[in-house]
């Protein structure tokens, strides 16, 4: 078995680069969805209305306890039954986003619980409304410590995008496998795909590090 460089340059790399935007889109939009839904989800779980907090809590546990792949299939096959037909990429983003929203809600919860009790008491002593207490005092303090953990999810989500190949989304893994099936040469395609993931992981990790440092500088003066 010999590595075919020409094949790599002419067939594999161009195809990978074409698939790259799809992977990046899937990653970024899923991440945004996860963060944007995760925070309200955490707040709902902390609701003083017993019914809400229990239902949301169990929902989160259920989402966390079932494989993402199955959830992708679930949305992919079930949504059309309700008349909602979305392009596979969108369905995938929805699935990955909501799954990680459930996971991120735990991260938000950790940050929230870490805010010192004295802050709540000061807000009460100053007669601030519960809503204002949350939005101006508690939540702003809960976010900076959890930025690293949240950023980590960007990388995790990135590595989950290959699951979308199961529903025929033209991301990196799907394209790589496709080349292999078509040309009977898997080595170059899959190895390059692997290296690409490695490089992108490192870039994403570096980006997260930059955001971390910026947040720390800005918030801790």
């Amino acid at each position: 078995m010999e590595w075919d460089w020409e094949f790599t340059w002419n067939r594999v790399l161009p195809a990978m680069l074409e698939a790259l935007p799809v992977t990046i889109q899937a990653t970024v939009f899923s991440f945004v969805l996860a963060v944007v839904v995760g925070l309200p989800l955490m707040l709902l779980r902390k609701s003083s209305i017993r019914l809400v907090s229990v239902v949301v809590g169990e929902f989160i546990e259920f989402v966390r306890g079932t494989p993402l792949l199955v959830q992708i299939f679930f949305l992919f096959f079930v949504l059309p039954e309700f008349g909602i037909t979305l392009p596979p990429l969108l369905t995938g983003i929805l699935a990955i986003g909501l799954y990680n929203a459930a996971l991120c809600s735990e991260v938000f919860r950790a940050g929230f619980d870490a805010v010192p009790k004295g802050q709540w008491e000061a807000a009460t002593a100053l007669n601030l409304s519960p809503r204002r207490t949350l939005t101006a005092i508690i939540i702003p303090q809960s976010l900076p410590p959890i930025v690293p953990a949240l950023g980590n999810y960007l990388i995790v989500i990135f590595k989950e995008t290959p699951l979308l190949s199961f529903v025929a989304v033209a991301e990196i893994m799907h394209v790589a496998k496709g080349i292999g099936v078509e040309t009977y040469r898997f080595t170059e395609a899959i190895t390059i795909a692997g290296i690409l993931f490695l490089i992108l992981s490192l870039i994403a990790a570096a980006l997260v590090g930059i955001v971390e440092r910026y947040v720390i500088r800005k918030v801790y003066h």
Binding site: P116, G118, Q119, A122, T124, A125, L126, L128, I137, Q141
Partner: protein, 257 residues
């Protein structure tokens, strides 16, 4: 005229532990009262239930004769709804042992947050009021600093200004100097002294600073085992305690000094 603060048979329990035991208390408007007693006796809890940081199991707390923690219903009382409490709670301000300044806001922002959000003041009005108060506590030049950039004594003075910005009628001080290094205690006590002498706030202090308590208070209350064991005017209280427990406590305190 009704007393400013009334505790009517107030009981508070944590599980099996009774911290406040059928407490009765009347504090007149403008009075400065110091509560002293052994550590862990629950003197702080007296302030905390008044500030509604914690609930009570029995009894009623009233402000200006009007029930605060409860509302009248028929012959008795039922726990008040949050809206009722919020309406009256604005009369009370509290200064905490650990300052509890908002770390993500500047000194000035700390002091205008509640007046703007809770009292509905316009921002410029709130800023003006805040600046005046910060000047009064000697922290005017630090208005753009963050709490992490201030010393303990400075933070506590800002905390006092923050509480005053709400124009409360009642001020609660929960061991305001206990968390401070000795050299900063004086600057905070000086502010409290000024408040007691030159203003008409009703003040409730929980403190270990006996000398200070003696100096500024109109009345001293000795608290132990859930009850007020003895009370008196500073002049007679320290020199001639009546109750044996009071004598024991004061003796220990004097020994330590």
């Amino acid at each position: 005229m009704a007393p400013k603060i009334t505790f009517d048979n107030v009981t508070k329990r944590y599980g099996d532990l009774t911290v406040l035991d059928g407490l009765n208390l009347e504090i007149e408007e403008g009075e400065v009262v110091s509560i002293i007693g052994p550590s862990g006796s629950g003197k702080t809890t007296v302030l905390r239930v008044l500030m509604t940081l914690e609930g009570i199991q029995e009894g009623v707390i009233s402000l200006d004769g009007e029930p605060f923690t409860h509302v009248r219903k028929g012959d008795g009382f039922v726990p008040a709804k949050p809206a009722h409490i919020r309406k009256l709670r604005t009369k009370i301000g509290m200064v905490f042992q650990s300052f509890n300044l908002f770390p993500h806001m500047t000194t000035l922002q700390n002091c205008i947050e509640a007046p703007v959000q809770s009292l509905g003041l316009r921002k410029d009005e709130a800023v003006e009021r805040a600046r005046e108060l910060l000047g009064m506590v000697g922290m005017a030049e630090k208005e753009d600093h963050y709490p992490s950039q201030l010393s303990g004594g400075q933070q506590q003075r800002v905390a006092i200004a923050r509480a005053l910005a709400m124009r409360p009628e009642i001020l609660l001080f929960d061991e305001p100097t206990s968390a401070l290094d000795p050299e900063m205690v004086g600057e905070v006590l000086s502010v409290i002294r000024t408040l007691a002498a030159e203003h008409s706030y009703t003040m409730l202090l929980v403190t270990h600073q006996m000398g200070f308590a003696r100096e500024v208070s109109d009345r001293i209350l000795f608290f132990e085992s859930g009850k007020f064991v003895e009370q008196g005017h500073p002049d007679t209280f320290f020199s001639n305690p009546q109750h044996s427990r009071t004598k024991e406590f004061l003796a220990k305190v004097l020994e330590a000094n």
